[in-house]
């Protein structure tokens, strides 16, 4: 990709936010700072489903160990970025 790392990350955040829409019941604006549990009310069970959708979409694995540390959308994007990097 020719875009800068920042653009790349913004694009990833946009895509992840899109995948999150289904969980965004109150229709808040999803940013890197959005907390999955506190702001979107995603519980541990839904979080596992969400992770699987993201894995499928990007064709990556997000190991349970890494998923445990994800609190905010930004954390999730960082993990996706890392796993895409191989």
């Amino acid at each position: 990709m020719t875009s800068s790392p920042e653009n790349h990350r913004d694009a990833l955040t946009g895509k992840v936010a899109e995948l999150l829409e289904r969980y965004n019941k109150t229709g808040i604006a999803v940013t890197a700072d959005t907390d999955l549990s506190a702001d979107l009310d995603i519980d541990s069970v839904s979080a596992m489903d969400l992770i699987m959708e993201i894995e499928d979409h990007f064709d990556i694995d997000i190991p349970v160990n890494m998923a445990a540390d994800i609190r905010k959308v930004g954390d999730l994007v960082a993990v996706v970025e890392q796993q895409l990097g191989g």
Binding site: D43, M52, P63, V64, N65
Partner: protein
């Protein structure tokens, strides 16, 4: 900050539950009458959620053997297997389990939960990759955590998804261990183990199967789903429990791997806990004999399961899988499930209430389990009483 602060949300949810239905997770069996009946809240209640698949908890032979062992060997071993806690009875039990399963080596653990912890942590370490079914039991998740391995979940009962994930990590040299169960504890659905065997062979991975709910239940000899599917030799590690079909407590792990005994000096959940009591070891051996010599128990179990499954569906309940000794009824939400659970208990039927996060996909269930010891009269009663509350339960479910 208070140490329990992190649980405020859960405590509030629990309090709401208490108010609505009493405590579904703290039911007291005041007196046991038989494998299928007990006094609860002073009332005679049919037990329809106990995992007592073969109904052996009151089997005279098991009780006699167990009582004799207490008299001869005492009430407890007061030590771990690596210290003073290995009795001849543990060795004999391990030999018998290995023989029954046709595996080279078997190890006995103090619970089924520890059998999973101990096997996983004995097999895998921080440099390895474990791939587990998304709906795995808590003991598998917890065991994985203990290993420090990279843990990847694949979609429930989906060999194609496992295949895809193994392909993704194809070029990694790490050891890969795949973990599935035989029959899943919540829905009672069966793993396609033969297909998983194909996948794991193709990718050079190891396969561990937890037959907790299928030991004594599936296969011509009750050795589990791998036996039923004819692929036992390709299962590298098999784990199981004594707490369900065998009516006792404890667990086992067995394998043909020549180094499997290594677990005895590397697996902490095996090493640092007291060994099963002599009474337990004795009743398990007796129960294994029953399992071997009385195949009609298994026939009866499945007849009962099919009859009840059919009966409950006819009443309008939504089941979660084809007939098996675990029959899960889907409820619309937690309130509906709680209400239904309470109504059934008031009508003298005990089932398990299962709600998230203990259930797959966040569903709320009435989890029923069938026993070979349920008599025809009891099954009639179970169906009659479910029928009595059905209109009420199902209305609640629809309203939700």
């Amino acid at each position: 900050m208070d140490i329990f602060e992190k649980y405020r949300g859960l405590i509030a949810r629990h309090d709401r539950m208490l108010e609505a239905a009493g405590d579904p997770f703290n039911v007291c069996m005041e007196r046991l009458i038989s494998p299928t009946e007990a006094i609860i809240d002073g009332k005679r209640t049919i037990l329809f959620g106990t995992n007592n698949y073969l109904g052996l908890t009151f089997d005279p032979h098991c009780i006699e053997q167990s009582a004799a062992a207490v008299r001869e060997q005492g009430t407890g071993t007061t030590g771990s297997r690596i210290a003073n806690g290995t009795y001849k009875s543990h060795r004999d039990l391990e030999t018998e389990i290995a023989g029954y399963l046709g595996k080279r080596t078997a190890l006995v653990f103090s619970t089924g939960y520890q059998a999973n912890l101990g096997t996983l942590v004995g097999l895998a370490g921080p440099d390895d990759i474990i791939l587990i079914d998304a709906d795995s039991h808590a003991s598998i998740y917890d065991g994985c955590k203990l290993t420090g391995a990279t843990v990847i979940r694949f979609r429930h009962n989906n060999p194609a998804d496992l295949d895809k994930r193994l392909a993704r990590i194809e070029n990694k040299e790490q050891v890969k261990l795949v973990v599935v169960e035989g029959i899943y504890s919540m829905f009672g659905d069966m793993a396609p183990i033969a297909e998983f065997v194909d996948v794991k062979k193709r990718h050079g991975a190891f396969l561990m199967v937890d037959e907790a709910h299928s030991f004594g239940v599936s296969g011509d000899h009750g050795r589990g789903v791998a036996e039923a599917e004819g692929v036992e030799a390709d299962v590298d590690f098999v784990v199981g429990t004594f707490s369900k079909s065998l009516g006792a407590i404890g667990g086992y792990a067995a394998s043909d791997h020549p180094d499997f005994d290594t677990l005895r000096f590397v697996s902490r959940p095996y090493m640092f806990t007291a060994s099963p009591s002599p009474a337990t070891a004795a009743s398990v051996r007796a129960a294994l004999e029953c399992m071997r010599d009385r195949p009609e128990l298994r026939t009866r179990l499945w007849e009962n399961a099919r009859r009840i499954h059919q009966g409950l569906e006819a009443l309008g309940f939504e089941t979660c899988s084809p007939a098996s000794p675990i029959i899960a009824l889907r409820m619309s939400d937690e309130v509906a499930a709680l209400t239904a659970w309470r109504r059934l208990l008031d009508h003298g039927i005990y089932v398990n209430l299962a709600v998230p996060p203990g259930t797959p996909n966040g569903v709320c269930l009435l989890r029923c389990s069938v026993s070979a010891a349920h008599s025809n009269a009891q099954i009639d009663e179970i169906l009659r009483r479910f029928g009595e509350v059905a209109s009420e339960i199902l209305t609640v479910a629809d309203a939700g």
